[in-house]
Point group: C2
Chain length 576, copies 2
């Protein structure tokens, strides 16, 4: 007798529909999965971008050797590119295909791809070219003649090329027809080398990877391997030259002493391509990508393969530069201090934020409420939305508590949650029992509360920050609600005083009293203290946190985005 069981699979609730940018990798296949299009696809997925492929050659290889190699016929390469461009580049307002990453190229694929260069330029597709010449296991993958062709066509038109130090030397030799390597004895030599490479090639940006030339930090010179195995002062320097702005950026990172580096080159380039496709600046993309490689190498629990093992591509990449970079840039914080009496004042008066902040803290909703011209059913709708919001707001404070650097901060977030719960209860008891809003239903029955899109978007944004960001950034996302409600309360109260005598007529006195009491709540001593404590906490975080310009911009963006979400929250109440 057969046993029969039935299960019902729940339909998932998808929080936000992200648009996936697409990246095309043009490279060989590494059947052992650590390099080639395999590594690229794994990397794209880890970064949340959609991967397309054009396989230039099949190889039979593993972590020890490359055994067979079969180049893809020219007409197949052409057909693949045609179909991919037809489907992911042409016929869109905003084409999903943002970047192309190239790895191992063949003369066939170089020939086909060069014909598309004008089209790619026209559509703004950025080419990140990793000039693969030799595999980690030692096989030669591209002839000098093919590299010469590549230099004359693709490299010249590339957005970025990412040679390691050896490849950079070889390419410079080929490009300049010189047969001696440039000697490197100091950081200064390295900088000049990278600049001369860019000049010889004509591509927009060059990143020379330093993994093959470990650096002795103490003596500012290449590390002498004969000096023994003391790696305490050894670092890796990756050097970026951005020709258009004539800027060198040196990324100093840990030297990880391992033989298991199969595919690290491919992976770095595809991680950069993914970050570029997501809209990051090159200078922000690179440290995140270096960090991704580090994570991949360090999290490879048990070595895979019997040769140069691959890395773990499945680690979750960091999305914030500040989590990856420790050094603060000189002057960034001083500029903030010089321009405003506090970090909070700096934020709300920031050129990008100022107008939005005014839109929020002096919102039409507040004016109507102050003037008794807000229809009461709109106010009740707002309270429902706010109830839903506060539950999420409490949860995001819990997420902040879970990543707070000190247990005292964890504790203070827990205390804030208690305050929010008090606020939720206040909504329930004071205002709503009379108006037949069923607040007994908890989150399991969200649908009853029927939160609008602006409310849902706002909550989802906060939850996303809470799950992915560090403590400072989460606090930044939580700040506009706290401070804006205080300021809106003050603004509303002023309006109401000014307009006293000519206020609009609501149906009952109770309704008018309710508006007054709402304004009173947010100008109360209790809320003023919360507003002040919040400012103090932000100020302390600003003081102790190293900041680069990039990170400061990220924080400003978060504050601005949440300010706009607040504006839309009230817009929706009025325009529903």
């Amino acid at each position: 007798m057969t046993t029969i069981k039935t299960f019902q699979i729940r339909k998932p609730i998808i929080e936000s529909k992200d648009v996936l940018p697409a990246v095309l990798t043009i490279a060989g296949s590494d059947s052992s999965g650590g390099a080639g299009i395999e590594a690229d696809l794994k990397t794209f997925s880890a970064h949340g971008v959609y991967g397309l492929t054009c396989i230039t050659a099949l190889t039979a290889q593993n972590t020890q050797k490359v055994q067979l190699f079969e180049a893809t016929p020219k007409e197949l390469v052409k057909s693949i590119l045609d179909l991919n461009f037809q489907d992911f580049l042409y016929g869109y307002d905003q084409p999903p295909l943002k970047a192309i990453k190239t790895g191992m190229l063949t003369p066939e694929s170089i020939g086909v791809l060069q014909d598309y260069l004008p089209e790619l330029e026209k559509y703004g597709v950025k080419i990140i070219l990793d000039p693969v010449m030799i595999s980690t296991s030692g096989s030669s993958l591209l002839t000098e003649a093919a590299m010469k062709l590549c230099i004359q066509t693709l490299i010249k038109n590339a957005f970025l090329i990412t040679p390691n130090f050896q490849e950079a030397q070889a390419i410079l030799s080929i490009a300049t027809d010189s047969h001696s390597n440039v000697p490197i004895a100091s950081t200064n030599d390295l900088i000049n080398f990278v600049k001369s490479l860019q000049k010889a090639l004509g591509c927009k940006n060059v990143l020379v990877k330093g993994g093959h030339i470990p650096w002795d930090k103490k003596n500012d010179a290449p590390y002498e391997m004969s000096a023994g195995n003391d790696y305490s002062n050894v670092v890796v320097l990756d050097v970026l030259y951005e020709a258009e702005i004539n800027e060198i950026t040196i990324y100093e990172s840990a030297y990880i002493n391992t033989q298991d580096s199969h595919g690290t080159g491919c992976t770095l380039a595809s991680s950069i391509a993914a970050n570029i496709a997501k809209g990051l600046d090159l200078s922000a993309a690179i440290p995140l990508s270096v960090d991704y490689i580090h994570r991949g190498m360090l999290s490879m629990g048990k070595k895979l393969g019997h040769g140069n093992g691959p890395l773990n591509h499945t680690t979750v990449p960091e999305t914030s530069v500040s989590k990856v970079i420790t050094l603060q840039e000189d002057g960034v914080k001083q500029a903030v201090i010089d321009s405003a009496p506090s970090f909070y004042e700096y934020l709300k008066n920031h050129p990008r934020i100022k107008d939005n902040w005014k839109l929020y803290s002096e919102h039409r909703f507040i004016k109507h409420l102050a003037n008794n011209t807000l229809p009461f059913d709109r106010f009740l709708y707002f309270l429902k939305q706010d109830y839903y919001y506060l539950i999420n707001y409490a949860q995001v404070h819990a997420l902040a508590a879970s990543v707070a650097p000190t247990y005292k901060q964890t504790h203070s977030e827990a205390l804030v949650i208690s305050n929010i719960v008090e606020e939720i209860e206040k909504h329930k008891q004071k205002l709503c029992d009379k108006y037949d809003i069923d607040y007994e239903k908890d989150r399991g029955l969200d649908i009853e509360l029927n939160p609008g899109p602006a409310c849902i978007n706002y909550c989802n944004y906060l939850l996303k920050m809470g799950r992915n960001e560090n403590y400072f950034a989460i606090k930044m996302a939580l700040a506009p609600c706290l401070h804006g409600y205080y300021e809106a309360g003050v603004y509303g109260s002023e309006c109401r005083s000014k307009w006293e005598g000519s206020l609009g007529k609501l149906e009952t006195k109770h309704e008018s009293d309710t508006y007054q009491s709402w304004l009173d709540d947010y100008t109360s001593d209790w809320f003023f203290k919360a507003h002040q404590d919040g400012q103090k906490a932000l100020e302390e975080l600003f003081e102790i946190t190293p900041l680069s310009q990039q990170r400061l911009d990220e924080l400003v963006d978060i504050f601005n985005e949440v300010t706009l979400l607040e504006v839309r929250f009230w817009d929706e109440v009025l325009d529903y």
Copy 2:
């Protein structure tokens, strides 16, 4: 003048080194990235398994058509498989290669692979075979003759085959040389069809996917498309037959009405293969994989491609069956209720847990402490470890707060955090000032506290649960600490009373008093109340949560694992 900037990239702190199981996909390449090895690799990565490839054919295709097709030569297929098996199967105690997923096969690849079947059998590699015959865009991908060969060789030896309904009909026709399709009018017909398919093929397990035969739940019959577009009663039934245990499992899920299903077949099979490689049972793997496909379809914000669009492979798969399945199995909860007075009693007396619980709650550490034979420096070491632990423990309560189903539960977690902070402060003030332990340093200086491996493992396990599990399971992970310390306190106090008069000699009376006061803390009214409240909360969660046997087992496993982590925590203190 070139601007020069330097940044230091932080070395990431990797919490746990996971071992990656490997899965090999033997399939064609889909250059547009939605199906084939591209979809497989994306899926493997999303599931945290390492992907290997053997590309059976290159295709030029997109979401609209397959334009060119070039089969990989037989010797290349053979070389790829050889190298992959050499590197990922042979020469290990526990080979990383756990499963092979096959997609589009060619006569060449079928021929090569069949020679390896005895080897794969020997090493326990499971074959998940997706019998691809026709692409979503309508191209025929395998001839009837090749399918016949496949049936006689690979399918017979497969762990699982995953045809959709049309493919299942075609395969049954080919296998039985019959030319009429089996008529399906009821669930019963469907069950008999799946059983007869398995019988005809001889493979271990068969999953017939129901996406192509939407089901009218009300009438228990295939949905008549002519009946209009009312999908309210329409579901998809995926039917699994496990021949060895003679068990049919029907997974009922939402019918998602979309044309954008390019690659869903490949993706389901590779998701199942990944879940199997991670050690899941087939019956647990399937709902998680169906859910992954749903998430992939529903989270595709903006359609990609101009034809049948692909899904979003980058969504994070659920790891817990209970989050995916809603129906509770009859009798599962009743069996718990019948066997124990409370869920807590059920857990600690569970056959898998009972001995471990005794090892924990009557640990040698407690006996030594009760008997004054615990060296005081060991106790101080324990306090340091416990301090580090409590900070993490508070954070995991914060994570519980962030996913609690009701705001009241969020609040109660916040109150627990306050209690834990009190406990941390107690450690600092009462006990340790005298003994020169620097507790002023917060988490930024963990290294000073020097937590041991057992402590770190325990904390990391809790954080992992906190970040990935639902509220019930997180509470389950937090429970052994709370309840075990109460029971250990009671046990220790009893021992101390019994042994009074013959207690060991510590250096000072203060040390003995400290031990007494430690035991008093955990038998105090305050802690007894926490112990009781915790039991009550567990009981309530047990009452309201639907449970299948699978999920109950998961919860028991969590409780058991944490009990063992507690044992190791104290072991380390003694044996350090």
